[in-house]
Symmetry: C2
Subunit: 343 residues, 2 copies
C-alpha cells in the first residue's frame, strides 16, 4: 500500500435482528457472537496495521461509552452523531472532518471478514482506483442466491481487479437472485467503501447537497472533548436521512466495484450466527451452561442461566436478562415480531 | 355416609417428572399447575366436608414447612416420616397411629379429581365394603390405552358398586392395554384406598409383618410436637421399602375395587399439565409474561421471566429459577434425563 488509508468505522446501528441479545445501548456490533471478542473489536483488528491511520469511529452518544471501553479503540478518534441519520449523513460527517485528499475506507462494525489477506488485497486494488477519484465499493462474491442483500452488476474492467458499476440491483426475489449468480459478474453490496474524501464531497455536492452541507455545518459547530468530536445537534438534524447507496452511489457516474471473496458475513440473523459458530458433532452451538439430550442443530446462548434441551432440533434459545427467546433457526427473520413487541 | 372417614394424605414424594418446577423441597404436590392453587391444597379440599375427620398428613421433614404453610391444612395432624420408605411403610405408620376401628381413606396429594361428587359417591360405596373388612382400592375407568399405569381386573360383584379384585396387572405394553380396555372390567390403579385400620393391620401382619412392626415401633417411640408426630428414626429405618400394592394388595384375599369415573389425572408429565390447563384458541397454555408469534400448542411457564416464542409448535418452555427447560411436549417422559443431570 503506497499511502496510508483512514479507516472510518460506522458504529451507529442498533439492530433488532439479533434480539434479545442486541438492543438499546448493547448494539449488535458489541456482541461476541461466534468468537470470544465483539464484532466491533474484530473490525478494529482488521485496520490495525501500519498501512492504516488510527480509525475514525462514528457512533451515537448512547454507544460512545461502549466504544471507549474497548481497549482496541485506544488511539481512535470518535465522531459522535447527535442522532441517527442513515449512512449518507454519517459518511458526510467523516468526509467533512478529514483532509480532502485523504483516502477513506468506510466499513460497518458488525460484519465478519474471515480472510484478512483477501480484504487487504482488495483495499490495495481499491486504493489505486480511489486515487483516480473513483468511488469504490467492495463487492462480495456471492456464495448463494441470497435475497437479503442488494447486488452490484460489474461493467467494464478498470485495471486488474476493479470494474465500473453497471448498475445496483435492489434485494431481488429468489429467481432473480439465481439468474444473477448463474450469469456471473454480480456481487453482493456489503456497504464497504473506499474513496478520496474530496471525491465523495464533490459527488455529494452534486447528488445530495443538503446532506453534505448539514454535515459540514455540524462538524464546523461541533464540540471537541479529548479525542471525541460531538457534531452539532441542530445542524445535523437538518440533514435528510438517506442511505449512501441511494443518495450517491446509484447516481454518480464514477463508481467502481472491486469484487472480493473474503469470508464475509453480515451476521444478520441467529441462523447466520449458528452457521458461523463452533458446533459439536450434533450441530449444536452452545456457549455456557447447556444440557443436551437427544437434541441437534441448536444455537443456545444461556447467558448466566442453565438451559436444558430435550429432544429438540434446529432451535434457537437465546437468553438475555429476563428475556428468553425460543424460535426455530429457520424463522430467524421473524424475530422482529418479538423485538418490536418486547423492545 | 354413616360414619366419619379419616383421610390419610400421602405427601411424601418429590417427583422429577415435572422438573425443573418440582424438585427438592418444592415437590410436585405443592405446585399450582392448571389452577391457581396447589395440588396439595386441592387434595385437602376434597375431604373438607362434614363426612370427614381432620386429615392426617404423612410427609417427610423436608416438606413439613410447606405443609404447615397451607391454610387449608389447619386442623390437620402431621405424621412426619424420618425417611422415605415407600407406600407400605407410610400407610403402616398411619394404621398404627389411629384407632383400630377407624376407616382410613388413603390418597396421594398430587393428583387431580375433577368430579368431586363421583369421588364422594365412590367413597360411600367403598365405606360399606371397608366396614366388612375389605381392603378397597379405587379403580379409575380408563380413558385411553395408557401404558404408564397398572390395571386392576374386576372379579365378582360385591354389592352395587364394588367387585372383588381378580388380579393386579403391571404397567402393560400398548397392545395389552388396548386389549384390557376392549375387554372391559379393567380400571387404572390410582393408589387411592379405603379400609378399616384393623383390617389393614391384620393383612400386614400376615403379608409384611416387618413393615408393620417397624412402623408400630416408630409410632410408639415417636416424638410429638403440637399437632405433629415425628416417627422414630431408628425404628422406621428397619422397615423394608415396598409399595402397598406389592406388600399387601396383590397378596391379600379380601381386596375389592370400586371403579369410578371422576376426572382423575395424576398430572404425571408436562404434556398432562398442558392437557389440563386452560388454553387459548391456538392451544397455548401460558401463565405469565409470554409473547407468542405464530406459535401453537405450547405450554409456557415463564415464572418471573419474559418468554418470547416465534414460530414454534407443541413445545414446553419451563422456567424455574436459573433453569430453563425446552422440550417438545411429546417428549415429556424424557425430562428425567435433564432432571438427573441438573437436579
Amino acid at each position: 500500500m503506497s499511502a496510508l488509508v483512514q479507516p472510518v468505522i460506522l458504529c451507529g446501528g442498533a439492530g433488532t435482528r439479533l434480539w434479545p441479545a442486541s438492543r438499546g445501548a448493547r448494539a449488535k456490533q458489541f456482541l461476541a457472537l461466534e468468537s470470544e471478542r465483539s464484532l466491533f473489536a474484530r473490525t478494529l483488528d482488521r485496520v490495525a496495521g501500519a498501512d492504516f491511520l488510527p480509525p475514525l469511529i462514528l457512533c451515537g452518544a448512547e454507544h460512545a461509552d461502549a466504544v471507549r471501553s474497548h481497549p482496541e479503540a485506544e488511539g481512535s478518534s470518535l465522531l459522535v452523531e447527535p442522532m441517527a441519520r442513515n449512512t449518507a449523513a454519517a459518511i458526510a460527517l467523516a468526509v467533512a472532518a478529514v483532509e480532502p485528499t485523504q483516502l477513506l475506507l468506510v466499513m460497518p462494525s458488525d460484519h465478519i471478514i474471515a480472510d484478512l489477506a483477501a480484504f487487504h488485497a482488495a483495499i490495495d486494488a481499491a486504493s489505486i482506483l480511489a486515487r483516480g477519484d473513483w468511488l469504490v465499493t467492495f463487492g462480495i462474491e456471492p456464495e448463494r442466491p441470497e435475497t437479503g442483500f442488494g447486488y452490484i452488476a460489474s461493467g467494464a474492467p478498470l485495471g486488474e481487479s476493479g470494474y465500473t458499476v453497471d448498475r445496483f440491483i435492489e434485494k431481488p426475489p429468489l429467481e432473480v437472485a439465481r439468474e444473477l449468480i448463474d450469469k456471473g459478474g454480480h456481487s453482493w453490496n456489503a456497504g464497504i467503501f473506499l474513496f478520496r474524501a474530496s471525491a465523495m464531497r464533490d459527488a455529494m455536492l452534486v447528488h445530495c447537497p443538503e446532506i453534505y452541507r448539514a454535515a459540514e455545518a455540524a462538524i464546523a459547530h461541533g464540540v471537541g472533548k479529548g479525542s471525541s468530536l460531538y457534531a452539532d445537534h441542530a445542524q445535523f438534524a437538518s440533514a435528510p436521512s438517506d442511505s449512501i447507496d441511494y443518495a450517491v452511489m446509484e447516481k454518480h457516474d464514477r463508481v467502481a466495484v472491486v469484487p472480493v471473496a473474503m469470508g464475509w458475513s453480515d451476521v444478520g440473523s441467529w441462523e447466520a450466527v449458528h452457521g458461523l459458530a463452533a458446533r459439536d458433532d450434533a450441530g449444536n452451538a452452545c456457549a455456557g451452561d447447556v444440557f443436551l439430550h437427544d437434541s441437534r442443530g441448536c444455537l443456545v446462548r444461556p447467558q448466566r442461566k442453565r438451559v436444558s434441551l430435550v429432544g429438540v432440533e434446529d432451535l434457537a434459545v437465546i437468553v438475555d436478562g429476563d428475556d428468553i427467546l425460543v424460535m426455530p433457526l429457520s424463522r430467524s427473520q421473524d424475530v422482529r415480531a418479538a423485538a418490536s413487541a418486547r423492545r
